[in-house]
């Protein structure tokens, strides 16, 4: 019983990691309607920037703010330079470009900062908080940051003009353009915001998994699973999806005999796919209506 509780707590702590990156995934999906395979590598690269700034002697929060700003600019630039010229190309061409971006960022980070694991500082400390350290101060801080991000996104998309304009451009680009929204720039803005959220996620995740160029490969897979499970249309769903993935995976790894340990991610994925088959739009997504 105690083990069950501990695994659930550990799962929530790990699930927050997935939730963070799932938010960035949903952000991109909301604005451009694609899954961005390079999301994880963008977050990793941003985290390296932060690390470099801190190495150069900047205080943590200055580096944090600067990194978020730089990442936002980077996201906008990627959209303008790389994606804008092909925005009429088929979906699969976009996917290939994302894969190209992934390869570039990963290789570049390894080239600049090498592949050794680096510790990354946390602003919250690592004192044990709940249940003898199954959740420590950093993880609690991370949960708080995730909730803040979520609240920000909710407010942004619901109450600000820019947020509403972004939703309009994603849902119906033609009508949005007719009412005077600059649809192209909304996509760029969405990329910038997704990159900024990814940067925050990366800086929250790195103290736990350590900083290195491949740190996000695994995290991204879990983040996708969480985002899709929650429904890609809903930031809150993505967070809850991420947490569920974390918990389910831990429980599968612990309590399923013989194969549980070796197949814990596989089992978690199988459960997700089963859920999706029952509920094809994710737990919190709205069904997509097609106009004939």
């Amino acid at each position: 019983m105690e083990l069950l509780l501990q695994q659930i707590l550990a799962g929530i702590a790990t699930g927050t990691i997935y939730a963070c990156i799932a938010l960035a995934i949903v952000m991109t999906y909301q604005t451009i309607g694609h899954l961005n395979f390079a999301q994880g590598e963008m977050a990793m690269f941003s985290t390296f920037l932060a690390w470099q700034l801190i190495q150069w002697g900047l205080p943590y929060w200055t580096a944090f703010a600067l990194t978020v700003a730089l990442s936002f600019a980077g996201g906008v630039l990627i959209e303008r330079i790389v994606l804008r010229p092909i925005h009429n190309a088929p979906v699969l061409s976009h996917v290939a470009v994302f894969i190209g971006l992934l390869a570039i960022l990963n290789s570049l980070a390894g080239f600049i900062w090498d592949f050794n694991v680096k510790p990354f500082p946390t602003p919250f400390g690592t004192a044990p908080l709940i249940a003898n350290g199954f959740i420590d101060a950093h993880q609690a801080g991370m949960i708080a940051v995730t909730i803040l991000l979520l609240a920000f996104l909710y407010g942004f998309f619901r109450f600000t003009r820019v947020g509403l304009a972004m939703r309009a451009s994603a849902n119906d680009p033609v009508s949005a353009r007719l009412v005077g929204i600059r649809v192209g720039w909304m996509a760029a803005l969405g990329w910038g915001m997704a990159a900024a959220i990814g940067a925050v996620a990366g800086m929250m995740i790195a103290p736990i998994v350590f900083l290195e160029p491949n740190m996000m490969l695994g995290v991204l897979l879990y983040g996708f699973a969480g985002a899709v499970l929650g429904g890609l249309g809903s930031p809150a769903g993505a967070v809850i999806g991420g947490l569920i993935v974390g918990v389910v995976e831990n429980l599968a790894g612990t309590f399923i005999p013989v194969v549980g340990g070796e197949l814990k991610f596989t089992i978690a994925l199988a459960i997700i796919v089963a859920v999706l088959v029952m509920k094809p739009q994710g737990l919190f997504g709205r069904p997509v209506l097609h106009r004939v």
């Binding site: 390869a103 570039i104 897979l221 999706l276 997509v288």
Partner: protein
């Protein structure tokens, strides 16, 4: 869609393909064989994605199943290598069909996630300890290379190349005919407008699952050939990155254009080597830049290039 329906062009290409291994090094023959293998796998992916509009990140799984079926049959049951291909193909067809049934309910990114789960799960299942007796676990299985039969004066590499070429031609022709048939039109109707397709009386569920099965069959046969050519299978050979490579190969060749698979196969095999020759430390970055530049220049892959070339040719003539 551009078609290689000019018989002279097709015959010339086949003639070159037949003569090539007699004049080049064995090592290059081996590389060309792998290009053909990847091309078959990409044709499989193209049938599903290009012609039926279903997205898959899981084709490394079908490739792996084909490869393991072939390797296990040769290793444990002393099957002749040529006989492993139909078995691998059928096994993958059944598996793909069954996987396609529940996955039917999923569209777009949700289907991508389900197939992605398959790609991630396969290597883990292959190295599962209870199955180690058959799969060789993490160590994999070593396969013997077949020699040329009937005392043909060919090296093993040359023979395997011709063997693979024959199967490639057969599979390409079959794919062509399938796409041009009633079934093929139904597949494309589902891709273009599922609701209209249904109202025309097309059994969407059946066609989608069948397409999944056929697509898996192609990729499984490619996997089996790959195992014979490389002489080795291991879980690490069939990671998620293989799915990604096949997908990139599909896009580069041209989605919905069958001969594009050969461009795609060549891309999968040769471009990483090319990237490496520019820079060791940055080979990944060079590879990424090449993909992006290619998409810039040819948003519809080699298909677009051929189309433009044939237009130019006709205008000149």
């Amino acid at each position: 869609m551009p078609r290689l329906n000019n018989p002279r062009v097709t015959l010339a290409i086949i003639a070159v393909a037949l003569v090539l291994p007699l004049v080049i090094q064995n090592f290059l023959t081996f590389q060309l064989t792998l290009v053909l293998v990847y091309a078959i796998a990409i044709i499989g992916l193209n049938l599903l994605t290009g012609f039926n509009g279903q997205f898959s990140l899981g084709h490394s799984a079908f490739y792996a199943i084909g490869a393991y079926v072939a390797a296990m049959l040769m290793d444990k049951a002393d099957f002749p290598y040529a006989m492993t291909l139909p078995v691998a193909g059928i096994a993958c067809f059944v598996f793909g069909f069954l996987f396609g049934l529940p996955a039917l309910r999923l569209e777009g990114v949700y289907l991508a996630l389900a197939t992605f789960a398959l790609a991630v799960a396969t290597p883990q299942i292959l190295k599962l300890s209870p199955l180690e007796h058959w799969t060789g676990g993490v160590q994999g299985i070593v396969v013997n290379k077949p020699e040329a039969p009937f005392g043909l004066p060919l090296t093993e590499d040359q023979w395997l190349y011709y063997f693979t070429l024959l199967i490639t031609i057969v599979m390409t022709v079959l794919a062509h005919n399938l796409v041009a048939s009633r079934t093929g039109r139904a597949m494309m109707a589902i891709r273009d407008n599922p609701i209209a397709a249904r109202s025309m009386g097309i059994n969407i569920a059946l066609y989608k699952s069948l397409t999944f099965g056929v697509s898996a069959l192609y990729t499984g046969v490619a996997g089996a050939l790959g195992a014979i050519v490389v002489q080795f299978v291991a879980p690490d050979s069939f990671t998620f990155f293989l799915s990604i490579s096949l997908l990139v190969g599909l896009v580069v060749g041209g989605v919905g254009w069958i001969p594009g698979a050969f461009f795609g196969g060549a891309f999968v095999l040769f471009v990483p080597n090319l990237a490496e020759s520019f820079s060791k430390g940055l080979s990944g970055a060079v590879y990424g830049v090449m993909i992006i530049v290619l998409i810039y220049v040819l948003p519809t892959g080699a298909a677009g290039l051929t189309r433009a070339a044939s237009r130019w040719w006709r205008a000149k003539a």
